[in-house]
Amino acid sequence: MLRILGKIQRIGIVTEPLPKNDEPALEEIGAQLQAKIGEMFSSSLAIREVDAGSCNGCELEIHALNNPYYGIERFGVHFVASPRHADMLLVTGPVSRHMEAALRRTYDATPEPKLVIAVGECGANGGEFGVSYASCGAVSNVIPVDAVIRGCPPTPSDLMRGILQAIGGLPARK
């Protein structure tokens, strides 16, 4: 136990306090994100992530949002286990035809009002996989999409910026 506490004390907080050269304006984006979430989602934005056919590259970077560098929870964003608890769906694609029904059901299970962000090149436009006998291509070919975050895969900062932009355009809820 002492070793664990020692390690915790030695490492301190690595969560990035100030804009750094390699991750520009993380704090700035975060602050705006937090303000917007405070205004519109009572300080808490619940996201349900849906992999609708991705190569898992996007999932790795969405995961990274929870690592201590980005710590996206500090801005009021958390990932939830059920679409019924979600304000937003973060959907990676392309939407494989075998995931089409599951994605529609997940969308239907998410209460209104809801936001859908298509993540990655594949989610945005089919990417490397396009439309085929096995792939529906872009997420918007299957469910309504409010915003896209491009990149193969988008970096964690791209994702944070994209989430901010998606909620930035919304009228205030209360």
């Binding site: 190569c55 898992n56 201590p68 075998h98 995931m99 089409e100 439309v131 085929s132 006998y133 895969p153």
Partner: protein, 528 residues
């Protein structure tokens, strides 16, 4: 890769028992050897290979017009053998290898769904890769099936698959997925349980089938490398390397020594990144969040340096036909060296903590036990195999450049539990550090990319690399004008997914996530 003495004796034995096998030269497959087998002898051939303790590696098929071609790859003592047979399109029936090799079960059902070869004595007649996006009478890998297909306006859910049933008082079922609770890939798990104990698990995969084999057709070499880099995003380097190796062998292209070393540095960086992330995630699955954040921190730092050095956090598209896309300078070499040194120190401290923490011991030791016998029967690869006594590592046992001139340890344990899989991965990180230091120190000067020359019509190649999950096999055949006629990547997940069904038995349902994470099969790499 090497040719072992057993193979000539094996070929002699085939003659003796009247299995018609003809060895034909296949430069692109070398050092693997190619045998043409009479289709009538296909089943007996596998039986004999099993008698010789060959490991089942992969199976794939191809439409060649009048005939359908079936391939099966075996390995023993680092020497690979590709068996091939032809069957008429009008009567595409073949004996199954599954009675001898359980590992061939799902791959043969995949071939049945994709190419329409019926395996007569296959023990499981159910479809595998196909859900309901195309009809039972359609086969996407046939040349007359258009890549666009003829899909229904809305694909119905896959709700008419016959799962195994369990009967008895108190037995209940838990269906999970395809959409899971975390940020993970989709698939369906059907549990039968009594109380908290798992009686049986049945996996139902195929949800992220994206038609990779089909849409590979007609691509040029660069396009195929990009696609290969997206077979499984976490193994982008290893898959792109295997595909490029296959294409380079087919086209007869030798890549510069510096490119070889840079590919290996990227591959080792990929291995370390995945091991770091997964060790943390396994600890998180048993609520030891300290390790999750500590390993997550190291992984993030590691990914950032990958971006600085190779231009991408996952190093996607860094491996290209003929070499690599990006060269590295002295400054980046110094940065990698110092990061290895600092992470080695950090990990020594973290390993001390996770190695003797009672709460981890309680949850990880004996959990998800995979016996060496089962691991070997299923041909388990990577850390799943190596935690259960199956030592095979392509870098060591069938070494390709640059690993053929490097010495390194491959950790092998026999405890077979989640703890052992964590331990193997922890030790592999340290071995990768050593490998990278050697590669950096002895980085050859010179160009990083050879000129690409169009491969002749029909040229084929086989690439085998060791990804973080284990051996990746990539088969490529070129068609006209240097366009791809066939691409088949066999992700190691094909061989490790079935072991998950076995190793969760008699565990409690709440331990399923940690068992699953300790295997960490790729859904995308498997569903193709």
């Amino acid at each position: 890769m090497r040719t072992a003495a057993w193979m000539n004796a094996f070929l002699g034995k085939l003659v003796l028992i009247e299995i018609h096998a003809q060895e034909v030269p296949a430069t692109g497959l070398a050092p693997a050897r190619l045998l043409l087998i009479n289709s009538d002898d296909w089943g007996r051939f596998a039986h004999e290979a099993k008698n010789w303790d060959c490991r089942w590696v992969a199976a794939w098929g191809e439409d060649s017009g009048d005939d359908l071609i079936a391939n099966a790859c075996f390995e023993k003592e680092g020497a690979y053998l590709v068996a091939r047979t032809r069957i008429p399109r009008t009567n595409p029936v073949l004996a199954s290898h599954t009675p001898y090799y359980i590992a061939a079960d799902r791959p043969e059902r995949h071939i049945q769904d994709m190419l329409g070869i019926a395996f007569t004595d296959h023990p499981d007649a159910r479809r595998w890769t196909r859900h309901r996006a195309w009809k039972e009478s359609e086969y996407p890998l046939r040349k007359d099936f258009p890549a666009a297909g003829n899909p229904p306006a809305q694909t119905p859910p896959n709700d008419n698959y016959r799962f195994l049933f369990a009967h008895g008082a108190g037995v209940y079922e838990i269906p999970v997925g395809p959409v899971h609770a975390g940020i993970i890939e989709p698939g369906h798990f059907r549990f039968q349980a009594v109380g908290e104990t798992i009686l049986n698990l049945e996996e139902r995969l195929g949800y992220v089938h994206k038609g990779i084999e089909k849409i590979a057709e007609g691509r040029d070499a660069t396009g195929l490398a990009r696609l290969a880099g997206r077979v499984s995003g976490d193994s982008t380097v290893a898959h792109a390397w295997a595909a490029c190796m296959a294409m380079e062998k087919a086209a007869g292209i030798e890549i510069p020594p510096r490119a070889v070393a840079l590919r290996a540095i990227m591959a080792e960086r990929e291995r370390v990144a995945n091991h770091l992330g997964d060790i943390g995630a396994i600890c998180n699955d048993v609520a030891f969040t300290f390790a999750y954040y500590q390993f997550g921190r190291l992984r993030e730092a590691w990914q950032r340096l990958s971006r600085d050095v190779f231009g991408h956090r996952l190093m996607m598209d860094g491996v290209v036909p003929g070499g690599v896309a990006i060269d590295i300078g002295d400054q980046m070499i110094a940065a990698m060296r110092s990061q290895i040194a600092s992470q080695r120190m950090e990990l020594a401290g973290l390993y001390n903590i996770i190695d003797d923490l009672p709460s981890l011991e309680d949850r990880l030791d004996t959990t998800g036990y995979l016996s060496p016998e089962t691991a070997s029967a299923y041909g388990a690869l990577g850390y799943v195999g190596r935690a259960s006594g199956v030592a095979f590592d392509a870098r060591k046992d069938a070494p390709y450049a640059p690993y053929d001139r490097l010495t390194f340890e491959v950790p092998v344990l026999t405890q077979g539990d989640v703890a052992a899989r964590v331990h193997v991965r922890a030790q592999e990180i340290l071995a990768s550090f050593g490998l990278m230091e050697k590669l950096i120190t002895e980085l050859p000067p010179g160009p990083i990319r050879a000129d690409w020359t169009t491969a002749p019509l029909g040229a084929e190649g086989l690439g085998i690399t060791e990804g973080f999950r284990g051996e990746i096999l990539s088969y490529v055949r070129f068609g006209e004008n240097g366009r791809i006629a066939r691409y088949y990547p066999r992700d190691p997940s094909w061989l490790t997914w079935p072991t998950l069904e076995k190793l969760v038995r008699d565990n409690i349902v709440p331990d399923f996530p940690v068992c699953n994470k300790s295997v960490n099969g790729s859904y995308s790499g498997h569903d193709l």
